[in-house]
């Protein structure tokens, strides 16, 4: 056979023709997905495709690196708040939550009980806002335009509440070392309960139109399966870990503030596929509504919301590491202080970057059509990963 082919090539060369010999490399095509691509956004991955199958994937983050960690070293503990919430503006209460916890540990202050409750409410609201935004983009990634519009619209419910609570729709710099900036406004509790009740009805509609849609199931079930062992080995976190059958939630595993007084279940699924990773955030949102109800119920009626703190707080030299459960998983701050009002070193450990590690592992062998659903189901926020 080889000889025959070589013979044909020789014959054709004599006749002035050319036969191109098909080799392995001819089949492959390299696509640069991003950074200007509707399926990536602030992020690039180079995929090599063989027909419609992905044979190699090479993530390339770093397009929105802003040096948040270095910026922290030039500002004092309070000044750091506004720029630290920039990486995930939708989840700013959570990203400043763990920072505040770490600073409080360094400085050695106790947050008043009412302040702890308000803090938790703000962070739950922001988790909803982030998850809805994430869900909207997941919808449009699968080509479901209604699922893009509905969560973006319903996100306004919680943005309204946050607006009333903090004075800003996003990036509200609300959770600060020592507590929260201000007390809840008049009528906030009732408004909050009303919005939650409406939102729970909407969650049922989301399930009807999106999660129970046979086409959506076909596309996501059994796609990009991350087994329990792999999930633990790769160190993924948040909803991705819970979708692989590990019921791990920082709020339960190492409760911070008043979360040990709240009764809630850690939602998880066992299949570990793209569908489970898309469905666990919905279960989380539903659980978060319950948590918010309990928080509002148990909140003391009066009291301080913020501990007395000097304008430039400083503590003894030392180090602190505290983490919270954000919309994307464990979000931790490691802060080293040398006794001055400015931190000596700040290291942010984000869930997004941990989940990115699973991306090449899941994409290789899947189809190009599965690329957006696998990629976005990893709950990856490029700006946060680049910091």
């Amino acid at each position: 056979m080889e000889k025959n082919l070589q013979g044909q090539i020789d014959d054709s060369t004599k006749l002035g023709m050319q036969i191109v010999k098909e080799s392995e490399d001819d089949r492959l095509m390299t696509l640069s997905v991003g950074p200007q691509h509707p399926g990536s956004g602030h992020f690039r991955f180079v995929v090599t495709v063989d027909g419609d199958y992905i044979v190699h994937c090479d993530p390339d983050p770093g397009y929105v690196h802003r040096g948040e960690e270095k910026m922290c070293e030039y500002r004092n503990f309070i000044q750091n708040i506004p720029h630290l919430e920039r990486p995930v503006i939708h989840d700013s209460a959570n990203i400043t939550y763990s920072y505040s916890l770490a600073v409080e540990e360094l400085v050695g202050i106790e947050v008043p009980r009412r302040g702890q409750f308000i803090r938790a409410i703000a962070s739950e609201l922001d988790r909803q806002v982030y998850t809805l935004y994430w869900l909207a983009i997941y919808g449009i990634f699968l080509g479901h335009s209604t699922m893009f519009m509905w969560p973006t619209g319903d996100r306004e419910l919680f943005i309204d509440l946050l607006d009333a609570l903090t004075g800003a729709r996003v990036t509200h710099a609300f959770n600060i070392p020592g507590g929260v900036r201000n007390d809840i406004p008049y009528g906030f509790k009732d408004k909050c309960l009303r919005h939650i009740a409406y939102f729970e009805k909407r969650l049922k509609e989301y399930e009807d139109i999106f999660y129970n849609n046979p086409l959506m199931r076909q596309r996501t079930e059994g796609v990009g399966i991350l087994t329990k062992e792999d999930a633990i080995k790769l160190g993924v976190t948040g909803s991705v870990l819970r979708a692989s059958g590990v019921p791990y939630d920082i709020r339960k595993a190492e409760p911070y503030d008043i979360y040990n007084e709240i009764d809630f279940k850690v939602q998880y699924m066992k299949s570990g596929d793209s569908f489970a990773r898309a469905y666990v955030p919905l279960l989380d949102m539903r659980e978060s509504c319950q948590i918010m109800r309990q928080l509002i119920d148990k909140m003391p009626d009066s009291g301080e919301v913020r501990a007395k703190l000097q304008p430039t707080p400083k503590g003894p030299p030392g180090e602190a590491y505290r983490r919270v459960e954000s919309g994307r998983g464990a979000l931790g701050y490691y802060i080293v202080s040398d006794g001055t009002p400015k931190p000596y070193r700040v290291k942010i450990s984000v869930g997004s970057f941990r989940n990115l590690i699973a991306l090449p592992h899941l994409l290789v062998g899947s189809k190009l059509g599965d690329m957006p659903s696998v990629y976005w189901s990893l709950n990856y926020w490029p700006v946060e990963a680049d910091r």
Binding site: G143, S145, N213, R219, K367, G369
Partner: protein, 431 residues
Amino acid sequence: MATAPQGFRFGNFVASLIWLILWILIIVALVALPVIFIILFYLPLPPVNGEVLTPYLFLSMMVDPTRTLPIVKFLIHTELFKVAVFPGFTFAALFAAVTIFVERKFLAKMQLRVGPLYCGKIEGILQLAADGLKLISKEIIIPSGADKPIFWTAPIAFVATAAAVVALIPVAPGWVAANVNVGLIAVFAILGFFPLIALLFSWASNSKYPFLGGLRALHQMIAFEIPFFLSGLSVVVLAGSLNLTNIVNAQHPFWFIFFLPISAFVFFISSLAELERIPFDLPEAESEIVAGWLTETSGMIYGLIQLGSYVKVYALSALFVILFLGGWAGPQIFPKELGPSNTTIPLLQLLTLQGFYNSITVNAIFWFTLKTFGIIMLMLLPRGINPRIRIDILLHTGWYKLIVLTFINMFIALALIYGGILGPGGLLTAH
């Protein structure tokens, strides 16, 4: 929902309309009429009502109401009118424009939005015109290394092919641009050009994403063309003819959708795939391959392809109506005459469209338009409720499931013919 923008005043709106009409009148009087006069002077005009048309006579006929109707009647029975205006391209393009507008508003209502709102003061009705103007004024960017002749011709070929399908569609008895005996085969033959155009254009773009999109378009259209043809075949078995007018006439007492529901379903699904609409918009899947084979299009090239695809929406919906919903059949709701017959008052003659108004044709056009629009609405609906399907599921659906379904319904059709229920001399055939 608020539908009028802030600061909207009806008086101002009416005033602007009056100004518009005034300007149109001035332009017609100063520019259009002289141009028409000059052109008509050089054209050999045919005799109408026994009079040889001269430019002067033509203008006097346009001004004199009693003599306008014969000339209009003469004009609308020319072949050019049929091809260019009424059952042909302009009608289809108008349908396409209405479809685009209705789609945007309809989808917006489904998604708790308002859709286009400001352009044209009322509900954004002029949004489409604004978009068209924007597309025309945009620069057309041709990628370096593109095959320029094909890159330029493909969009025009796309619109032309879509318009060619429209030419075969009868909208009322006798109202068809091309009444051919192999109508259905001609339609399918013309539809076969679309994957070729998509592939040529994607190859000519010299870019990776269009290439992937073009291959996807090719796979998809070929996978769905066979169930598409086969679902049409069972209609042909029942009707005993390939001529679209005869197929409509064959559905006289009962529409074919009652006998061939599975074929109708397969035809609908396949036409969604043929039109590259959600859930089958894989060739343009924006989150996977940017915009598929349309990635390198810009300006009016994109506009033409969009126009072509919406004309195609009209053509395939109309085909569905003709094959399964009895075409223009429907109860007679228009009166036989618009006013008192045989009046001699010129103005009344003009208003009642005497000698020109045909109640059967108007009724047929009305029902045909209504049914076609219903099918178009059904075609728009999946866009609001479904995500995009994956290529392997799509091909599996096309090659395995739909073809088997069409065969089932074809056997039903054959059983109806041989069982003596339909067909010549059948129980349910009109005598």
